[in-house]
Amino acid sequence: MERQKLVEGLYRFAEILVALIAGFAISGIIMWMGGYDPIKAYRAMLGSSILTTDPYNLAMTLSFSAPVMFTAITFAVGVRAGVFNIGAEGQMYIGALGAVIVAAMSLPGPLYLPLAVLLGSGLGALWGAIAGILKAYKGVNEVVSTIMLNWIAFWIVDYTRVDLLPNPKDPSKTVEMPEPGRLPIILRGTELTASIIIAVAVTLLSYYLLWHTVLGYEIRATGMNPRAARYGGINPERAVLWSFIIGGIAAGLAGVCEIAGRPPHYAITTGLSNLFGYGFDGITVSLIGANHPLGIIPAAIFVGGLTAGARGMQIVAGVPLEMVKAVQGVIIIALAVPGLLKLLKTRFTRGGG
């Protein structure tokens, strides 16, 4: 039994590896078609993020792993409950807004951080709960509702940046989180703050919640078979709603940590540019991590590495930053293929036919 589980796990790992290779290979061809040197680009990307011993680069990789670890939990908990919650993006915006609202208050120093966490995760939970209620009690397709809520969140947060909480010293961003409300920097000169510690802690907590609590059991049972879960005395609607609330809390925390723990801005910038995309990156992280909290941690470091390495890639090989998102897209498409490895094996044993 144990042995079989191990073999299955290794197989899964190999499959994910094949998807990663496919992602790099196909994106490499696209880069080459665009007139860039993919080998040079990948060498610069990985050499300045993961495959390096330079503490600055490694710290930057970890700093970009933190937000996507949170948003990956959002997607993973949803998948465990049988729903596709792709609303982490908007829930993160709203969470960041919560932190900025707290930043704009005049409070005793030690109160900023706990209040920002409370308001940010609370608002994130609320934003997730809207889609949760619509799904659980009205049957609204969560893929549609979460995307609508993402856009509504985008424009609401954009409005507060321009009209409600603008920074008096810098028109390109909102009010900053004041000094006492900021998370401590772990390595000086980098963007690595205690965000990463909170992210790992919350990820481990989500593992405990899913596999060692009654609610977690109910969520997983609902995801496997809602009808059977109902026979077993579980209320599947409630489990689905809770999965959205938990996901919203995690995504909200991603937003809070980007405000309280990301130098140099400590604020929301024009067009939400310092937040944009972390929610969707979380989907990649969750899928690479097999939608499992313990898989999410290494997967987040990988995707964080792509984000951190994108800068190096742009400087050295001139390739636009966004190429790393395309790599992620191809990886996900490859992950959608079941039995990817088996497929390749039969192809090769048939002689490439």
């Binding site: 397709n141 549609v144 995307i147 966004e322 992620q328 992950l335």
Partner: protein, 299 residues
């Protein structure tokens, strides 16, 4: 409000509704065959990009529209391979296409035009509006496609096959229908129309290309499919309703009294809120095809 203003709102709504209706009609056919494609948003965006590229390179907006449609069809083939032949996860495949577009389009804008994020379509690459009515020829085409597709689905043998495959693939298989092939044709048709919708966005209506160009319209089209109860003629009518919320938002922004009261950013939320409300209100009234979203596997 005078007649002129109402006519102008109607004219602008024909633009706002066209991409929604095109993508929804395509998705209706795809879903009738039992396949879900949530990658419409990504297809629109990628096709919007390629349409600008081809229209500028050839000087022909018509070739731009064709290029967008062909790229859409190609992405439909990819989605079909994964969903229909490899029996993969349709939602994840669609998500992948959406994320791919979010990366490739800004990459492409920078690689081709050497600018970051935004490129304006030059006049010679734009689809000209029809004289007199001043509506897009693509809108007229959309109306014809809605009618034609409705006829195809309900009055032809192939339409029957598509519906059979989506309702009961086992039975269709038993009577000799090639389930995977029919699903693939329906998926490619749907993706091609989403591609045309994307090309219309960039080289016709909005005359620009950015990574936010599709602005959730692919997902609004999914909502419209549901709202229209998988009927392409209702999608045309419902599209007008969804489209008018975009037009209304633009009009509200230029009315001084409203501008003073409600900030532009908040007016921008209107189409999304309207979509949510409509979808929440109409769910349960409509009925999806029975075997939707699940790959067909022979026993």
């Amino acid at each position: 409000m005078d007649i002129g203003a109402i006519a102008e709102i109607a004219r602008q709504t024909t633009y706002a509704m066209t991409p929604l209706v095109l993508a929804a009609i395509g998705e209706i056919v795809t879903e009738k065959a039992g396949v879900v494609n949530i990658g419409l948003e990504g297809i629109m965006l990628l096709s919007a990009f390629i349409a600008v590229y081809v229209a500028e390179a050839t000087g022909s907006p018509w070739l731009g529209l064709a290029a967008g449609t062909v790229l859409g069809a190609f992405l439909g083939v990819v989605h079909s391979l994964i969903s229909n032949y490899l029996k993969g996860d349709q939602i994840i495949s669609g998500l992948g296409v959406n994320l791919l577009a979010l990366g490739l389009v800004p990459f492409g804008i920078e690689a081709v035009w050497h600018v970051r994020g935004y490129h304006t379509v030059p006049p010679e690459a734009k689809v000209p509006a029809l004289p007199l009515l001043r509506v897009s020829p693509v809108f007229i085409l959309t109306v014809l496609i809605a009618i034609g597709t409705h006829y195809m689905l309900n009055n032809t043998g192939y339409g029957r096959k598509i519906r059979a495959v989506g309702e009961n693939p086992e039975a269709a298989d038993v009577v000799g229908v090639n389930v995977e092939l029919v699903q693939t044709v329906a998926t490619v048709y749907g993706a091609a129309l989403a591609g045309l919708a994307g090309a219309f966005l960039s080289i016709d209506w909005l005359s620009s290309i950015t990574k936010e160009l599709s602005a959730g319209r692919g997902f609004i089209a999914l909502a419209l499919v549901n709202f229209a109860n998988w009927n392409t003629l209702l999608a045309l009518a419902g599209g007008a309703l969804f489209g008018v919320t975009w037009t209304a938002a633009e009009w509200l922004k230029i009315i001084p009294e409203i501008k003073a009261l409600v900030p532009i950013s908040l007016i921008n939320t209107l189409p999304y809120i309207a979509t949510l409300v409509v979808v929440a209100g109409f769910i349960g009234v409509s009925r999806p095809p029975a075997h939707i979203g699940r790959p067909y596997k022979r026993e």
